[in-house]
Symmetry: C2
Subunit: 331 residues, 2 copies
Amino acid sequence: MGEKPNLLVTSSHVKGRFDELTTYTKVYWLDELDDKGLDRLLPSIDSILVQTLWPDSLTPERISKMARLRFIQSGWAGANHIPFKHLGKRVMVSSNAGGFSVGVAEFAISLLLAAAKRVVRLDNAMRSGEFGQADWERFAREVVQLRGRTTLGILGYGGIGRAVGSLGRALGMNLIAFSRHPSTESDVRMFHGGEGLLRVLAKSDAIVIALPLSKLTVGLIGPKEFAAMKSDAVLVNVARAEIVDEEALYKHLLKHPRFTYATDVWQIKRGKETYTSKFPLVKLPNFIGTPHVAGGSSALTGDPGKMAAENLMRYLRGEAPQNVVDPSEYI
Amino acid sequence: MGEKPNLLVTSSHVKGRFDELTTYTKVYWLDELDDKGLDRLLPSIDSILVQTLWPDSLTPERISKMARLRFIQSGWAGANHIPFKHLGKRVMVSSNAGGFSVGVAEFAISLLLAAAKRVVRLDNAMRSGEFGQADWERFAREVVQLRGRTTLGILGYGGIGRAVGSLGRALGMNLIAFSRHPSTESDVRMFHGGEGLLRVLAKSDAIVIALPLSKLTVGLIGPKEFAAMKSDAVLVNVARAEIVDEEALYKHLLKHPRFTYATDVWQIKRGKETYTSKFPLVKLPNFIGTPHVAGGSSALTGDPGKMAAENLMRYLRGEAPQNVVDPSEYI
């Protein structure tokens, strides 16, 4: 066990990318340990790097045996998959907020444009042969010009939210945001609290959800929030499916055919992202769905992994890590 | 017939928008004239404002009777629908280049992102229930991060091309362009001539066609040009379908499943845009098609109509109109 602290990394998939960590810690790869080896290691683990979802093998019982555990670094931008209620009070958890900002923001804007410009809908109509000359004017009227004529509401103004804002600004959209933090950007008007949320929703032609999932945000977008939105608004979700009340969403889409919901995220059940819904959302023409690929393009650049490792090294060097989350927002 | 010159406007659809013109000219609306009235008016027509495609009723025989015709203003950004070969040498033609730049550039970027981020493809997979967990990595690998990693090649660097460039720049893409004019933007490298075109195609991860259709550009993108492109490039057409050789396109799409063609424009036959192709393009998963709606969002703002009217007034006041096209490029 030596003098260096022990780090457990949940997948050896990206071995080689984390060589620098060995300056500060001894690295163990979860998928290279058998049950016995893992159980022997538990009492000496100081920190964990969780690359994707929290692994099934790190059960509450095993967590209880990690007496020296002090720090968990999430590889994902969110931290909602970390089992906070089983962690001791001395365990600090950092998210990887910012690591995926570029790729996720690009994807959010792609979904926004695919919805606002009716790309998916029109392509489907052309593909099925349903489009006739007579439909042209109706469709063309729905293809709105964004520049100088539309407002983009961003829910959550962290790394991803700001990156979305910067692209929305380049498109000439007016920017407003829902955030508990003040803005440092003079052209973004900030709102907070329940009333603030309703005002952002009411003013926006397109809305991008870029909030972390926590007990403060689960089910945040429900019947009252949908009712506040413009009937032809576009709602984009690149955060977590659970922030939106699915039943309220489904009813709203049925009632407002010119409203569009475009999502890259799906409910997580038993540790797996489902890619389905109990409501037949994918049957609706005003729904766009992609299978959580927004961050994939960033992950493949290696940048988010590098950011997670750098933050972990901050902790290992005795510096203050960034993006430390408040467990009380998750338990 | 009075002292003012006579203007013929091809559709009364937008009557009221052109009141200012009456300061300089007497306005006649083509669709309010019967055959007799039109024939009586022909010899006195000084200028024509063509709002969409050239109307069938203005036959070559009737054109030959417009002895006083000196100026034609196209309401569309292109001028390829104007019957140049039937016009006298003293007739000047202006396109409405620039009028649709904002809306068309927004739509071009929407198609580019829908293709590069696989939005249409993934939505189709989710919709049909074809997507399985096992497909995730393959798809996620195809969703490339644009910022700092990709090159946007723009064919034609006029009003629309520059507006596309400005959005590509905001997305962090490296910019190159094919144009016969030098660039005034230091971060855009320009290429010209046949070899220049091939170099732009070879370097680009995404290509946007924003050229006018003329005899210089008809069939410009053929087998040799497709062969020069990256096998996973995205080709976006918001200009005219006839710039791309359809047979070469179809063969290329079949041979390169990761190459995507996204078009808003379709072959024009007998004065109508067809929205179809003699090749089964819409059956291919790497084809995205929308029914020429890019400019619609701009048209609805009224800006292009205003720009066309302003240019017409330049002519009527005896000033030099803008966007005068060279007939020899069309005949």
